[in-house]
Every structure is written in C-alpha cells, then in structure tokens.
C-alpha cells in the first residue's frame, strides 16, 4: 500500500513539473495566498481602522499612472483615503477564508448526504436525489441568493451584517453540495453490495462504520478534484454576492465588496479603486482553475 501511494505521488509530481502552466499557476496561487494571509504583517496600512485614515489622502491615483501618485499608496486610495493595496490584501484574505470555508461546508454536507442516500436507499435516497436534481437545474448563484434572502427574512435585516460571513458560507456551501453527494453516493452503491460489507453485517459490525472507513478513502481523489474546481467557483460566487450587496458588508470588505464600492467611483474616472481588486480576483480564480484542471487530468487520465 505504501509503495503504491508513493508511486501515485511521484506520478503526480512528474505531471506537475512537466506542465509549465501548472507551475506558474501554483506559484501565482502561493504568492496570492501568502500575500493574503500575511496581510497583517505585510500590508503598509490598516485600511479599516478609521483612526489611521485621512480624507486628504482620498482618491490618490496609482503611482505608475499619474504624477499625483504617492509611493506610500502604490495602487492609489479610495474616496476615504484608504490604501487600495492594503484593502486588496485584507480583502483577498476574506475572500479566501470564505471560499475555503464554503467548500468545506459543501463537502461536509455533500459527503454526509451522499453516504446516507447511498446507504439507506429507498425513499430517503429518492428525496435527497430529487432535491439534488432540482437544485442542479438552477445556477448556484441563484440558490445562494435565495438562501441569503430567506435568512434575511428570518432574522432582522439589521442584525444581518454581524453574521453575514456565516450566512454567505452557508449559502454557498448549500449551493455546491450536490456534486459531492452524487460522487459519494455512487461509490457507496458500488461498495454496499461487496462481500466484506455483507460479511460485516453478518458478524454484527456496524456496516455504516465500515462504509465510512472503506468508501471515504475511495472517493478522496474525485472529492479533491471537485473541491479544487469548486474553490474557484466559490470565490467567484462570494465575490458576486458581495458585489450585489448581499454578501460581506462594507465594514468587512472582501474583493467583491471592494469592487462594488469602487464601482460607484468608476463613472467619474477613478478606475483604480475597482480595477485592481478586480484584476486580483480574476488572476486568483484563473490560477486556482488551472490547478483544478490539472489536478483533474492528473488524477484521472481517462477523462481526456
């Protein structure tokens, strides 16, 4: 088992090294991750501490594009005098946190429902899979919007800002669970009828326990691929929700929120406030998607 795993690992390593695009994508991803998670150390300013802001710094253009630029604000400032670069670093961090949390939430929901659906079968399976089918008909963003709206209906709109981040994570998680559930379910259906499961049942072991032990390792590969591809989607969905004004609030801005705030200044020609967060978002998602594509091909050569 050990040598087998090592062989797989080295194969993946080889296919990683031999693809320049993938290496570049991985480097870019690592760079952005580092920039985001080290923001408190690296960022030149603390953009959301009102005490450090000065309106006289407001709407400074980026240094390379205008003589009015100031090197302490390399990418310019917004109308409040906030440093765009620092805001991007903190915003990316939030976007990534929400993205990862949402993917993990989707994974947990999907794997659990997939196990139940495949193992229990019958009416429960039918209901879960029917809901999955219906949900799959709708784009994830719409599902996330609906869930967000429903939460706003249940709790008061005012309190919403405080828990916004959890609502967004939950909404995105609930809109991406279907793929995991389907993968796990089909794997369970295959394993369920294997003899060791029957045998386990005969000697009174909990077959569910055995399923979890044997099925989960089997689906690690596909689940990882889905998760990587979903990470890009989750980041986009969060950004879209925040851009639409139903995601993270402006007191705690993610990349999407920054773009929305900057969008108001776009018409007057102050393009940098929204463009730089936008470019960061696009580059991040592109890099993550390239990694996801590569991982899918590397783990499943038959697909291409």
């Amino acid at each position: 088992m050990d040598w087998y795993r090592r062989a797989i690992d080295s194969d993946i390593w080889w296919s990683f090294k031999s693809s320049t695009t993938t290496v570049v994508a991985a480097s870019v991803t690592l760079f952005i991750f580092a920039m985001a998670f080290l923001a408190p150390i690296l960022a030149p300013h603390t953009p959301f501490d009102p005490a450090t802001l000065s309106l006289s710094d407001g709407l400074r253009p980026p240094v390379l594009f205008s003589p009015e630029g100031d090197w302490s604000f390399p990418l310019g400032t917004d109308d409040q005098g906030r440093d765009v670069l620092s805001a991007i670093m903190y915003g990316t961090r939030l976007s990534l946190e929400v993205g990862f949390a949402a993917v993990i939430a989707a994974m947990l929901i999907g794997i659990t429902l997939g196990l139940i659906s495949g193992y229990v079968g019958g009416a429960i399976d039918a209901v879960i899979m029917r809901v999955a089918d219906v949900q799959l008909t709708f784009p994830a963003i719409l599902v996330a919007l609906l869930i967000d709206g429903m939460v706003r209906g249940i709790i008061s709109v005012k309190r919403h800002d405080e828990i916004a981040i959890y609502v967004v994570v939950g909404a995105i998680g609930l809109s991406f669970w279907v793929q995991y559930a389907r993968t796990v379910r089909s794997s369970v259906m295959v394993e369920k009828n294997k003899e060791y499961v029957q045998a386990a049942r005969v000697i009174g072991l909990s077959p569910m326990l055995i399923m979890v032990r044997h099925v989960l390792p089997n689906v690690t590969g596909p689940v990882m691929v889905i998760a990587t591809i979903n990470l890009g989607l989750a980041i986009i969905t969060e950004a879209t929700l925040s851009f639409l004004g139903v995601g993270l609030p402006s007191t705690e801005p993610s990349l999407g929120t920054l773009i929305r705030l900057g969008n108001d200044m776009l018409q007057s020609g102050d393009w940098w406030v929204s463009l730089f967060p936008g470019v960061t978002l696009a580059v991040l998602v592109l890099a993550v998607n390239l990694l996801g594509d590569w991982l899918r091909d590397a783990l499943n050569p038959k697909l291409r």
Binding site: D133, L146, G149, G245
Partner: protein, 330 residues
C-alpha cells in the same frame, strides 16, 4: 415516443411541484403575509381576523393548493417593500430581461458554435490554441467584472456606449421593447456581451470537445474512406452528430442566462426581473422572491421540454424507439 413525452412531462411537473413547495414554505413561514397588508398599529385581534379570513389558519396542504392555484393565475400576493401586486411588478420587468437574455443567447450561440467547430476541426493550429487559452480566462472572469471592464473601456474612456439603463424603449401593448430605437439597441450591446460571454466560452469548449470526439469515430473514418469531401464530412456528418449534446447544454445555458441576468442587470442598472429579485433579497421581500423562483422554474421547464422536442428532430433513434434508449453515450 408518447411514453417518453409523458415521462418527461411528469418529471417537469415534479420539478415544478418541488419548487412550489419551497416557494410556499418561503411565502408562508419565512415571511408573514399579514405584515405586508396591515400597518404597525393593527391590533393582534384584527390580525387574527385577517388571518382567518385569508385562510392562513387552514391546514398546510389546503393552503399549499390555494397557493399553487393562485400562482397558476399569476397571483403572488403583495410585495412587502412596495405593497404592489407581485405579479404585475414582475410582468412589467419581464420584457427587459427576456430581450437581454435573448440577445445574450444569440451572441453566445452565433459566436460560440463557430469558434468551437473551428477549434475542434483544427486543434493543432496556433489560433485554436489561442482561442482555447482565451476561453479559459473567459471562464475564470466573474460576470460582473466583465461588465465593469466593458463600462470602463467603452463608456468611461471611449464614451461610445451608454453604461446604464435601457436607453429608449417603445411600448407594444404591455411589452416594452429595445429593438425599435437606435438608442435602445446601443444600450443592449454591452449588457448582452457581458451576459453572454461566460456561456459563449462554455459553448465553445463543449462544441470543441464534442467535435474532437466525433472526428475520432468510425463513421467519420468510413466517410473519409467513401471519399466524401471535407466539407460534407465536417459539416454534414460531424457537426450534426455534435448537435444532441450541444442542444442539451445550450438549453440549460439559456436558462442559466435568464438566471445570471440578475448580476448583469445590477451592473448595468437594467430595469429587469433580476434587478427586482436582488432588491427583494436585500429587503427580504419574500413574496417577490417566491414568485421569481416559481417563474424561473417554469421557464426552465419550458426550455427543457423544447430541448426534448429538438432531440426528436435531430436523432432518428429516439423517434423510433420512443426514447427508451437515449444512447448518445455520455
């Protein structure tokens, strides 16, 4: 064939019912319909009377049937936000969304399919590789970002196109259209491109991979061995065989376009259903959300039925076997 159509219809009804249940629970239990109708100072007793009168104390299944019955007639109650009838609010905004979605769908199909065919036929050509790389970027760009970039370039810097609103519209009965004025048409350009771009890249990549797959099949090899011209092979044989999966996805994408209009309409301040939906999410305007959900589900189901009918036109195997064997092999 009849059995197939009936089964598909039954599935459609099941989807609509599931969505109906969700919408009903939202409408009835997430929000409180009474709040929308009465003022702050209405007494509890009056509220209870109203509740009784509206049948809100009836058993849930009866309320559900009433809800579905009303929905079928376009009655979705009153908006919490504006106190207008939800049905009329949506109807007023529907033409804007449908025209935008139509243009976006046309754009993505008319550009995406030829690009997919080209890159599928000449996968080794440098231009195909370039298109393929660009399409990956297209898939990674969030819709709203595309819209912002277009506005920045064509509205802010070049001042060529309007950046928000529908421009000028003409009313034909209750339907207001963009298609009859120059300003209206100009206003359509950027939103359509924004909305269609993502689907365009999807369609292009799908047609390309289907094309590559079909070109490897035996019947294409045999067609070559029969000495048919490249033109007949590529467009007569290969393209037609990619149609079934392409129609499927294109149908789903059309639905997705209508749903994604939510984002585009917000970027371009386009007064359509999507914008209405976002406002209703922001204000937790449950009746509008429920109605929008039902309407979108209905549109999806209609599109699916049309897609199924198109299958019959394309694939003779379905015509004769009643769809028992949908063997297109995926």
């Amino acid at each position: 064939m009849l059995a197939f159509v009936l089964r598909r219809l039954a599935q459609s009804v099941a989807v609509l019912l599931t969505v109906g249940v969700v919408a009903f629970f939202m409408f009835r239990y997430v929000g409180d319909p009474i709040n929308a109708m009465v003022g702050q100072d209405t007494s509890l007793q009056e509220r209870d009377e109203l509740r009784q009168k509206l049948g809100l104390n009836d058993p849930a299944p009866i309320q559900f049937l009433r809800f579905i019955g009303n929905a079928a007639q376009g009655k979705f109650g009153l908006s919490y936000r504006t106190s207008e009838p939800v049905g009329r609010m949506i109807l007023e905004r529907m033409p804007a969304t449908l025209e935008l979605s139509f243009c976006a769908a046309m754009f993505s199909l008319l550009v995406g399919v030829p690009m997919g065919v080209y890159t599928g036929l000449y996968p080794r050509h440098w231009s195909s590789k370039l298109l393929q790389a660009v399409s990956l970027i297209g898939v990674s760009l969030p819709t709203f970002l595309v819209g912002i970039l277009l506005i920045l370039v064509f509205a802010v810097f070049l001042r060529l196109l309007p950046s928000f609103g529908r421009g000028e519209t003409v009313d034909i009965g209750w339907w207001s259209t963009n298609f009859l004025t120059t300003k209206g048409l100009l206003a359509l350009i950027m939103p359509s491109i924004t909305l269609g771009l993502f689907q365009l890249t999807l369609i292009m990549r799908l047609v390309r991979s289907e094309m590559l797959e079909v070109m490897r099949t035996d019947f294409i090899k045999f067609a070559r061995a029969r000495g048919l011209s490249n033109r007949a092979i590529n467009f007569g044989h290969a393209l037609k065989n990619t149609l079934v999966p392409v129609i499927t996805i294109a149908g789903l994408q059309l639905g997705a376009i209508i749903a994604f209009a939510v984002v585009t309409e917000t970027v371009f301040a386009w007064p359509g259903m999507g914008q209405l939906f976002i406002q209703s999410v922001q204000f937790a305007d449950i009746p509008v959300m429920a109605a929008y959900l039902m309407l979108i589900a209905f549109l999806f189901v209609v599109i699916n039925v049309i897609v199924d009918l198109l299958y019959f036109l394309v694939d003779p195997r379905l015509r004769s076997q009643g769809g028992a064997a949908r063997v297109s092999g995926h």
